[in-house]
């Protein structure tokens, strides 16, 4: 199955990990939640 761009987007769980690590969240990346 071909991966769509949506499949590659960062998830809310990924963002939580980045927040815990104190790492920047990619600003240009929409979350799946944002698209809903």
């Amino acid at each position: 199955m071909e991966l769509t761009m949506a499949d590659q987007q960062i998830t809310p769980a990924d963002i939580e990990v980045l927040k815990k690590l104190g790492l920047p969240i990619p600003a240009e990346t929409k979350t799946k939640k944002d698209e809903e």
């Binding site: 991966l3 769980a13 690590l21």
Partner: protein, 140 residues
């Protein structure tokens, strides 16, 4: 021919690149076999069921900020995105596809394995909680 030395596999977990700490990685794609045998058949018959893949990774432990242990600890108990590429640093394509999957970080071995003569390692097998997406375009 598109064979390659297995020394440059890329791995990101929750977008954090942990490739430089990976000593071994195996993505096993599999799905359940659902039996559909009926009367009159001379053998078992199976059909494809749900995907049930796993991602096995051996890490050299690193407790530095945002490295192996901090990332896995932050992800512990959640499903996060794992991205694997056969040859990191090479363009994504048909001979170097991206594999993206959600993994449940349900086990950690922070103290790891190894004896006094070894660098501490962790060996974990993560259960995949999505299908494995295969892409020949995109970026790692």
């Amino acid at each position: 021919m598109a064979i390659y030395l297995d020394n440059n596999v890329g791995l990101k977990i929750a977008t954090v690149d942990l490739s430089e700490y990976v000593t071994s990685i195996t993505l096993t794609q599999t799905f359940d076999e659902v039996e559909t045998t009926t009367m009159g058949q001379g053998s078992h018959v199976f059909a494809k069921g749900l995907e049930s893949s796993t991602l096995q990774v051996d890490f050299l432990n690193d407790w530095a900020a945002s490295k192996v242990q901090a990332t896995l600890q932050a992800a512990y108990g959640t499903s996060v995105t794992a991205v694997v590429i056969p040859v990191k640093g090479t363009a994504v394509g048909a001979t170097n596809p991206l594999y993206t999957v959600s993994i449940l970080v349900n086990n950690l071995t922070p103290v790891g394995t190894g004896g006094p003569e070894d660098y501490a390692r962790s060996s974990m097998t993560f259960t995949c909680t999505s299908t494995v997406a295969y892409a020949t375009t995109g970026t790692f």
